[in-house]
């Protein structure tokens, strides 16, 4: 590790703490329509909201994944690795990616349970972004770094511009690893959603459930989906070296 690296780590940490406090204060300003934070009522509402809004996560996930890919390619292909911006952003992403999804789950409970009937795209986006973006960016960065530099050199030597090299050659070469990272990130989202449901299930009796689909079934479906995606992701990663990218010489 470079001697100056801890400085960037500290800067990244300070930025993250500041951002966290800003988000914390902002969410506290969201008015509670019920006029209070009555826990049981809130939990009850939250569960129905989670069931009712899971579908919202799909477009959010898509946007967040595309944004993550854009950030990763920007970092790796445009930003000089020795630059201050690269070092700080890389540290921020590394810190966020290393936080266990359990912590994000707790943050999700805070954001969803407290303002129970005010779950907005904004709040869902924060949780999904925190869960998906750091991991996806990091895995995409590794995938891009894994592309042999001779591929870039060979295509650039033919006069191709940066956009053509990235879209036509770097992305196809890195795609198997990128898709593995995306699948793992989505499985983290599903597992965390299951965690939130389990925590809420402890707080209210099943008879009070407003959902026609039971808690246990939801948790099992989410966990099984997460597990399936993890298995798929590991299979993709395992087969990276065996995938013939439509004819790499």
């Amino acid at each position: 590790m470079n001697r100056s690296d801890p400085i960037f780590h500290i800067i990244a940490l300070i930025i993250l703490v500041l951002v966290f406090f800003l988000i914390w204060n902002f969410t506290n300003l969201i008015p509670d329509a019920k006029g209070g934070n009555t826990a049981d009522r809130a939990v009850q509402d939250t569960l129905s909201i989670i069931y009712g809004h899971l579908y919202k996560m799909i477009p959010i996930c898509c946007v967040v994944i595309l944004l993550s890919l854009a950030v990763a390619f920007f970092l790796e292909e445009w930003l000089p690795h020795k630059s201050l911006q690269y070092r700080i952003i890389e540290r921020i992403i590394a810190i966020l990616a290393s936080i266990p999804s359990l912590i994000y789950g707790l943050l999700g409970i805070y954001l969803l349970v407290v303002p129970a009937d005010k779950v907005s795209y904004y709040q869902l986006t924060i949780i999904v972004s925190l869960l998906v973006m750091p991991y996806t960016i990091q895995s995409t960065q590794k995938a891009i770094q894994g592309v042999d530099i001779s591929v870039r050199e060979a295509v650039y030597a033919l006069g191709a511009n940066r956009w053509k090299v990235i879209t036509g050659h770097v992305f196809p070469h890195a795609f198997p690893m990128i898709s593995g990272g995306i699948l793992t990130a989505i499985s983290r989202v599903l597992a965390t959603a299951a965690l939130i449901i389990v925590v809420c299930d402890w707080k209210i009796p099943e008879s009070n459930s407003t959902s026609s689909f039971g808690f246990s079934s939801s948790v099992v479906v989410l966990l099984l989906s997460a597990l399936s995606l993890s298995v798929l992701s590991s299979l993709v990663a395992k087969n990276v070296n065996h995938i013939n990218l439509n004819g790499i010489v």
């Binding site: 042999d148 870039r152 050199e153 033919l158 006069g159 191709a160 004819g247 010489v249």
Partner: protein
Amino acid sequence: MENKIEISDLKVFYGDVQALNGISLNVYPNEILGIIGPAQSGKTTLLKVINRTLEFNQDISVEGTVKLDGEDINSISDVYGLRRRIGMVLPLPVGLPLSIYDNVAFAPRTAGLRNKAEIDEIVERCLQQAALWDEVKDRLDSLGTKLSGGQQQRLTIARALSHQPEVLCLDEFSIAVDPITTMRIEDVLKTLKNDMTILLVTNLVQQAKRLANRTAFMLNGDLIEIDETDVIFSDNPTQQSTYDYVNGNFG
């Protein structure tokens, strides 16, 4: 005679490691300049500086000047155009995930050529120059991966010729090619030098002796000697280390 390439006091650093220690040399138009030397002598680095592909490596710093036709390559804003003027063949074939035809047509299309008849003509000419046409003319639509290692390398050579470069840099082009095919490509290179300047990096000193008009000997990032090939391979080169290297006493 005006120099095609002028290199002055060229220093290259990979982080803290210096790969080139202030090299100065001139390359004449329409000559084959052989560059020989053991591993880690900076031969490949020198080629990558000339077509500016070295800058993709992180932690690189370059000092000194390299001029192409009198123009500093670092002051050329159209770096993609510069690279089209300088063809590059790497030691191991790096193919594009395309058919044989599209591999060769890639550079002309990138340069904006759309006329199919012209592209057909370029593909055929370049594959013939690379001694590959007879073997692939009936399966131009098949993937590059279907070719053998030697054929893939010749495909890479055809691709490098497709944009009609003014300078062709060959970095150990024959490492994956059999001797018979190597001889055929060498014959092509002797013809090509009428149209372009060729920089030939090779570990096969006899190949430099066969092909090069002049030969440069590099060692540990230094240019030890550059002279007519006959002089370098004679019993009386200027430097003893040159004599020792070409006679196999080391390296």
